[in-house]
Amino acid sequence: MNIFSMIPTIMMVVAPILITAVGGMICERSGVVNVALEGLMTVGACSAACAACVMQFAGAGKFSVWIAVLIAMIVSGIISLIHAVAAIDMKADQTISGTGINLLADGLAIFACQVLFGMDRTDAIPIRMASDKLGFYPSFYISILVLLLSWFVLYKTPFGMHLRACGEHPAAADSVGINVRKIRYIGVFLSGVLAGLSGACAVMTQTIQFTSALVGGRGFIALAAVAFGRWTPIGVFGASLLFGAAQALSVLLNGTAIPSEVFNLIPYAITLIALIIFSGRDYAPKSAGIPYTKSSS
């Protein structure tokens, strides 16, 4: 099989992972750990599929795909606010509220399908994203755009500097007048919106309908990509490329001498090994996962 002919397929798998990972990176750089990426992707994928089906059955044309994507971003963004309220205002354990959203998302998604379609998946979406002449889907270009934007915003704008300050030393950020609460809310909300976008891209390119197995751990792969990419855009890009390629190859090389499970295993094993090798050197944002309490003076 020609390696070049595989590139569009690989990028199709990479795109959702990259978009979600960028969201996770922004969220963690603002100081909130988001293990709910998996659930937010599920919600995004399901709402995109439901919206597209409903609109297209009513006779909507090509543009409905993009409205569905937009709806997915909004719905996931709203769900992510649950995590924001818990983590930022209620000073909750962020892993617990993230896990709760993951459990809730599965239930909500299938529940919506049951109500709308009477089965535990959506109908097939008639019109999905179309690939261009080179074989790339729009999701690929979107993911690159998201990556570049995240780099620009994080490193070239005052807002990005404030966001990174909140993840490193919120008390210092607070002392110079940065609204830590607001910045962290934006961080979590952006990760929700991007996870929704990514879920929508996944359901619009890789399959014909939403099923509960669609996301299948890719939110967690994105989480691994954030850690393996050491919380920087370029690192996250490299990690997503590697992990996405492994995922794609598990399908493309199915039936050859190497079992597909080996490729499925790679992202997780590599991340674990990398964490061991790089342990002791702290790349993670220093205050990620710690609620910030304004000291009363």
Binding site: M90, K91, D93, G100, L103, L104, G107, I110, T271
Partner: protein, 372 residues
């Protein structure tokens, strides 16, 4: 008049201080939210409660013409892995760790029991050794996380998430390529288990309730004993309260963290063996995660990581899962059960907000005293 106000305040304070009371409130809130969701889609929420009720007392089976208590059997069967995975999460939680990896420890436990059952020549009492290897496998899988945490300072949350998926795909690799394949279906099933490896059914033969239930009860007792009655348990709890203080008073925190994760993994490993040899009873090839490990997090949180609390919350979640299958007949989308479970966990996370209420009330009290 003044007296009643005082009484009211005392209730709020009692409520805020009692973990048990807030847990009950969280569950009620979860069920309430579920009711609203069922109403919102225009169905009758009574079916939800009927299904929950039936999952404890059974229902009248018209086809057989008699009362069937098999739903109770299902409830108690589901309780086995829920409680065991809850113990896994809870044990680590008491040492100040967040074990999101019960799922992976459960999976390797299941894999070890599976491999032992199909590879070793059958002998009487084989099932017991299957359970033992499952416990050992789970302990190793959990212990690795403990060592990574204690020696390399790697976040146990990230490490366990990675190990969950490594466990899942390792299971598939081993079951598909290393274990003898079954005669019927090579993609979903491996060779069948010898009858000596299966856990004997008890009490309600039409359900899958098996002797794993007694091992679960034993595990609850062991959990309580280690945690509350031994010096080891004290060192665990001390590390959980304040790692540095524990270290200063001579407690080896590295050992406490590694050992507690290993014990946590052992509980989850046992859960895997009980599900495979007691409920499923065939050589399966895992297609995806069973979610018992993740639900164990909910069980432990609702049960406040206390032995009896987790037993009770495990039964509750077992009943919810049993109700899930009963609700098909009630004309309600059964996924509302999963929504309720998710909401319960989210409400538990929000419980930390009560701490803020407490602080606010303390402040108010000081102000009141000052103005007198």
């Amino acid at each position: 008049m003044e007296k009643t106000i005082k009484k009211k305040k005392a209730f709020i304070d009692w409520f805020l201080d009692s973990n048990g009371a807030t847990s009950v409130a969280v569950v009620i809130l979860g069920l309430f939210a579920g009711t609203i969701i069922v109403l919102a889609v225009g169905k009758n929420p009574a079916g939800l409660y009927k299904a929950l009720w039936q999952s404890f007392v059974g229902y009248f089976n018209k086809g057989m013409g008699k009362w069937s208590i098999s739903p109770l059997g299902d409830t108690l069967t589901f309780t086995i892995p829920y409680v065991l995975c809850g113990l896994s999460m809870g044990f680590a939680n008491r040492v100040g760790l967040f074990n999101i990896g019960a799922e992976g420890q459960y999976t390797v436990g299941m894999l070890a029991a599976h491999a032992f059952a199909v590879l070793v020549k059958p002998f009487p009492g084989m099932w017991f050794f299957c359970l033992v290897v499952a416990v050992l496998a789970g302990a190793i899988w959990g212990g690795v996380v403990g060592i990574l945490k204690a020696k390399f300072k790697i976040s146990e949350v990230v490490a366990t998430i990675m190990l969950n998926y490594i466990a899942l795909y390792t299971y598939r690799l081993v079951a598909l390529y290393l274990l003898p394949s079954g005669a019927t279906n090579r993609t979903y099933r491996t060779a069948d288990f010898p009858s000596q490896a299966l856990l004997q059914k008890v009490f309600i033969p039409e359900s899958a309730l098996n002797i794993g239930f007694f091992f679960m009860l034993l595990a609850v007792a062991v959990y309580w004993f280690i945690m509350e009655k031994t010096a080891l348990g004290f060192s665990f709890r001390a590390t959980g309260f304040n790692k540095n203080a524990a270290k200063c008073s001579g407690i080896n925190d590295t050992q406490a963290i590694s050992l507690s994760m290993a014990i946590a993994g052992a509980f989850a490993g046992l859960a895997g063996a009980c599900v495979l040899l007691g409920s499923l009873r065939f050589g399966r090839i895992m297609q995806g995660q069973d979610n018992y490990g993740f639900m164990g997090i909910a069980v432990a949180l609702v049960g406040n990581s206390r032995a009896i609390g987790m037993l009770l919350s495990g039964i509750l979640f077992g009943a919810l899962k049993s109700a899930y299958s009963l609700m098909q007949f009630m004309n309600i989308p059964r996924e509302v059960v999963n929504i309720i479970e998710g909401l319960i966990v989210i409400f538990i996370a929000l419980r930390s907000g009560l701490e803020l209420v407490k602080q606010y009330r303390a402040k108010q009290l000081v102000k009141q005293e000052a103005s007198k």
